[in-house]
Symmetry: C2
Subunit: 693 residues, 2 copies
């Protein structure tokens, strides 16, 4: 399933900001911004003239799940469709011992039964406005890289604050084309979101970790929420009409969603560093965490229930990084990258004015990457991973310090425009599980001790001579951060209250904060600013040579992809364009019904009710990546024909390259959703709402 954590590069935001522009997109490649859709390709290849009305309608029907994922309005009454695996965090949070909505699913037969999500924020992109001139103009001639970076950041904060004040909308300045363009994106934000329907996880995620990121698939990875405003369902005028026939082989289709991040044009040296150091390290880290969590989950039904969504997410990430790692070690990908880079550099070198302005950028990046690698471990392991208590404590300690500064000088994540969403998350009433917190925090401290040694300032400050498990035991045992009211009091009390608090989690966060800040500051001064400046040069060189027939790397903002419903060559044969319910039963019985190929009782007992020929999942050539989970698949007329939930194993190198031959997005077919809702869930009312025009 297409979600992803921990970008494997410096501080997450650093190389995200460095997103490089791409070579002119061929084939069905590309995650296009709505201001620059691939109109020429659509017209030329499919005879499809994309209209502004079509684009506006699709944009306004598209929903961003702020904690990572996409979705869309599918009824005029605020119904939002996304994946079960995007919803699973909320499902877990509304569950409780004996009420396991993750495993058993949920269906609100009446409005009254719809269940409020504790901390889910949805965004709809209302408008975009280019602000390149203001941001680029902030960096004056003669400034150092570091000064220029600060100046641009300050200007961005100013633009965002102005917009928030004047419109009341969530306002983010988005860096595209490595700083070649800056855009102000304004979002309608929804925080009263209620759960309407989710199937059993075993059918949403049938085949479990083995089948994850593969195809053929047989998953009903769907969930439905309803957006409320002022206590009533929002009137969602721009919703996607439900096309029950769904996608057909050969159809032109679109995906509108929020791809998280790509590195399609990182320099070779950057990619080599990821291949040789960062990705192998992340893989080890995920394995260690999985081991800890599996051990905890093995303790019984209740621990297993608590750990389920985190386990899912870790296994998902492991498969992503292992797939990328395998792809990067294969000759094909690096060979292609090498050729692209040398062709590009040759063209720069051939034009003296470009060579003079931009020619040194590759060398500068190489230097910055080499520098980053000298402190790479500190960057990664001065960290408290996995524990929600520790994450809350750190955020609170940073929050009170950051909001005291001018907006332009704050750490990313604490700008004025982001605070409301942040507070919403920090005050979430979602339950905390102390025993699980304990093993996760102890594991994280243990890892830092092992990998940084006892003399690292972070380790010293965190442990103060005690063992990781003592420290974690004390911290989790006595903290009151599980209580949202306690958190609220600290936030309202500000720096003074936080400073004075004797809560052991807050104390831990206070102790490690300086070591955090030290490595971040070092990274910013020594790596990030160089990468930003050199990356911008490469981006501008690319514009100069290839023009704007390119798309920017993904930035978890709204993009449009296009492609066709089509199978692909797989393991010596052909993967079909779609699967059917027949295949679900074949795969389950082929494994003798053993987990993760077991069927929920509803499906094993109810198979006689289903038309087994109904298409279940399908693949298309649309270019997607983690963050696109839950994106609608849309046809020419703007109707919804499917629901993205994954990419195939061949797409795992998609962070670096798009290969039309076998890169495929995997989607649930609308016919299957309709069939299951009506025949197995008795959710005819819901289907009638979906089919309303």
């Amino acid at each position: 399933m297409r979600t992803r954590q921990w970008r494997h590069r410096g501080v997450a935001v650093c190389l995200l900001g460095l997103a490089l522009a791409c070579l002119p997109a061929l084939a069905e490649e590309g995650m296009w911004t709505f201001d620059n859709p691939p109109a020429r390709q659509l017209e030329g290849k499919y005879g499809f003239a994309v209209s502004q009305e079509w684009l506006d309608h699709v944009r306004l029907a598209s929903v961003r799940f702020n904690d990572g994922g996409s979705g869309s309005f599918v009824s005029p009454h605020g119904l939002v469709l996304t994946n079960h695996h995007v919803a699973v965090g909320q499902l877990q949070k509304v569950s409780a011992p004996g009420k396991d909505y993750v495993a058993n699913g949920f269906y609100a037969r009446t409005a009254g039964e719809e269940m409020k999500c504790p901390d889910l924020e949805l965004n709809v992109l209302l408008s975009t406005e280019e602000v390149t001139g203001r941001v680029q103009g902030a960096a004056k001639a003669g400034m150092s890289d570091s000064e220029a970076l600060s100046a641009r950041k300050a200007e961005i904060a100013k633009i965002e604050a102005e917009s928030t004040t004047s419109t009341g909308l969530r306002s983010d300045v988005v860096t595209l084309y490595a700083g070649g363009e800056y855009w102000l994106y304004r979002y309608q934000k929804y925080t009263d979101v209620r759960l309407v329907f989710a199937p059993e996880q075993q059918i949403a995620f049938f085949g479990g970790d083995p089948d994850n990121f593969t195809y053929p698939r047989y998953d009903l990875d769907m969930a439905l929420f309803r957006v409320y405003e002022n206590g009533r369902p929002v009137a969602s005028r721009d919703f996607l009409k439900w096309n029950v026939s769904g996608a057909r082989p050969g159809d032109l289709v679109f995906v509108s969603g929020n791809p998280g991040s790509t590195d399609r044009l990182g320099t070779l040296k950057q990619i080599e560093a990821e291949r040789d150091v960062m990705i192998p390290d992340i893989i080890q880290m995920i394995r260690r965490r999985l081991e800890i969590l599996h051990r905890y989950a093995a303790g019984g039904t209740e621990p297993a229930r608590q750990a389920a969504s985190q386990l899912l997410s870790l296994e998902n990430s492991l498969k992503v990084y292992e797939g990328e790692y395998a792809g990067l070690r294969g000759q094909d990908l690096m060979g292609k990258k090498q050729k692209e880079e040398s062709d590009f550099r040759a063209q720069v070198a051939a034009r003296p004015e470009l060579e003079a302005s931009y020619g040194k950028a590759w060398g500068e990046i190489e230097g910055a990457v080499a520098k980053e690698l000298t402190r790479y471990r500190q960057l990664r392991y001065r960290s408290l991973r996995g524990s929600r208590i520790a994450a809350l404590a750190l955020s609170i300690v940073e929050y009170v310090a950051e909001i005291a500064k001018p907006d332009g000088e704050r750490l990313d994540g604490f700008h004025e425009s982001e605070l409301e969403s942040l507070r919403f998350r920090l005050l979430s009433p979602a339950p905390v599980y102390p025993k699980m917190e304990l093993v996760l925090l102890a594991g994280s401290l243990e890892e830092s001790l092992d990998l940084l040694g006892p003399d690292d300032p972070f380790v010293k400050a965190a442990l103060e001579g005690r063992s990781p498990s003592e420290t974690a035991g004390d911290c989790i045992g006595r903290t009151r951060l599980g209580d949202p009211g306690f958190r609220k009091a600290l936030l309202e009390g500000g720096a003074k209250a936080v400073e004075a608090s004797d809560d052991p989690a807050i104390a831990l966060a206070r102790r490690v904060d300086p070591a955090f800040r030290e490595i971040r500051k070092w990274m910013e001064g020594n790596v990030e600013s160089v990468l930003a400046s050199a990356g911008e040069k490469i981006g501008l060189a690319r514009f100069a040579i290839y023009g704007k027939g390119v798309y920017p790397d993904a930035t978890f903002t709204l993009r449009l992809s296009y492609g066709t419903v089509r199978g692909y060559p797989m393991n010596g044969t052909e993967a079909p364009p779609r699967t059917t319910f027949y295949g679900l039963y074949d795969r389950s019985y082929g494994f003798g019904g053993k987990p993760p190929f077991d069927l929920p009782a509803r499906y094993s007992q109810g198979r006689g009710k289903l038309d087994l020929e109904t298409p279940l999942d399908f693949v298309c050539t649309c270019d997607i990546i983690g963050g696109n989970s839950g994106s609608p698949v849309i046809d020419r007329s703007g109707e919804i024909v499917g629901l993205i939930f994954d990419g195939n194993i061949e797409s795992l190198v998609g962070d670096y390259i798009y290969n039309e031959t076998d890169n495929r997005a995997v989607a649930v077919h609308t016919a299957a959703m309709t069939e299951a809702l009506v025949k197995l869930y008795g959710a005819g009312d819901l289907v009638r709402e979906l089919e309303s025009k």
Copy 2:
């Protein structure tokens, strides 16, 4: 499907004879002779004590299809089960315009409807006897390699002739362990074989060329023959009882059949020559032939029917060689081979007596391979490929010349013990299709002209200055060889009649025969004899170091493999141990029923009759290779639980290496055969016969 043509090495028989002994078999590797079963492994790993009775029963129930393939007796009344794709040549031969048994299947509801096959010979291995002493003793000290080879060949011919005379049985001396052992195998031979049942090819070979050599599969690749003797069904006392429950995941199972050939321990230099020269060349050759045949088949229903089985066979071969080629270019395989060879050579070098006797063998082989490559093209393209008329003409011309010589001096294929089978094939009443013959012969001559040039003696003699199409047109237009009676007269008339014949095909064969013989003789003197002698040395060295805990390379003689029913890691996920009828419908509807994923009407209309949960195909770790097609899968109690019909794509490197992780044999499940016979074919009588005890 596991059949294979054209061994890609010198003359087919040459390196077959060179089959090298293997390293001690680990895991579930190995194609064991019945005199040396893997008793220790079976006892140790499975607690299964294999008895002589069990081995004898399985051996006597096993059937060799003399034109390539395996089968087994499955009733006391001579019923033999094999694959549809093993039967397809015969199905094609008994078909006629408007009576397409290949496409439509066949079922003889009464004994009277059973249809005699024109030229099918089945063999049952009645006894084996070691004759190593006699054969090795024939080569005296002081003989050259060439003289030694001749002496051994003469002795082998003598042993075979003696046995044929004294027993009346087909008697073959088999070279095992590269001449480390020689065994006399005596066969009961059956030539009155009648077709009882075959399903539609589209269900036997569902998924066609794309799915061929892959898994998961959904094929009912079965056919049933009945063996007659003296006009009545033979009483087959040793038959395999039909186990309708069939193979279960985790079961210990056995495969008894006739793997064609392997090169598990060719030297590195030999494998490199195959990788760099021979296999790429064969792939080109198959592609050229496919192009010619596809063009012919596109001419209409009847040409398509005529070309079907040859197309099938060519596409099958192409997939095999492309799979091998990909495997050989990957680093894993060659790296492992390199390590094996250097370990082995180090052990030889460490023992002076071994080094003295055998140490030079690798260098000798390297020299012979280098020599072979100098005339490799002549070896391959002094040939008339594809045309049945040309093949018959050449065989007749050679036959009358060879039988005039003492047995020991004849070309392989013409020894006294082989003549009866040869005559049976030469006099086959199977139909000949002149238009197809024409394009195949013209294509073959064209290819020889292109690749050898107009001055090659073979090309000169074949064309006599005319064009390939003129030559072929004249030859096919006027030949009478399509008439079995005409062939009979030539064989009976002997050298004189053949010499005097003005039949243009015979004349063509007479003209090219000297160039054939020249290159064969050169190969024998310069390559084959050296390879035989050096190969034998390496074989003996291997015996000295590893003992007899090894199995010989495959030689299209009866072997026993063992393993478990087990899935495997595939393309990022797990392949299931078995499939079901559900999957057949999923895959067909997934492709919208488009060929080769279309269903015979019986299956699309009859799906309601089937219990779709019935296992259809399954995989096991048994070590098989081309020639094993049609082999029974047998359980501990000697009952039949499945029917081998293919290997997966990962097994295509099996010629060189066995990899337990993902090398799998693919089989039809007995439950699926039973279910289809009863529910879809109304063949309850047949199932009652199968279930007789």
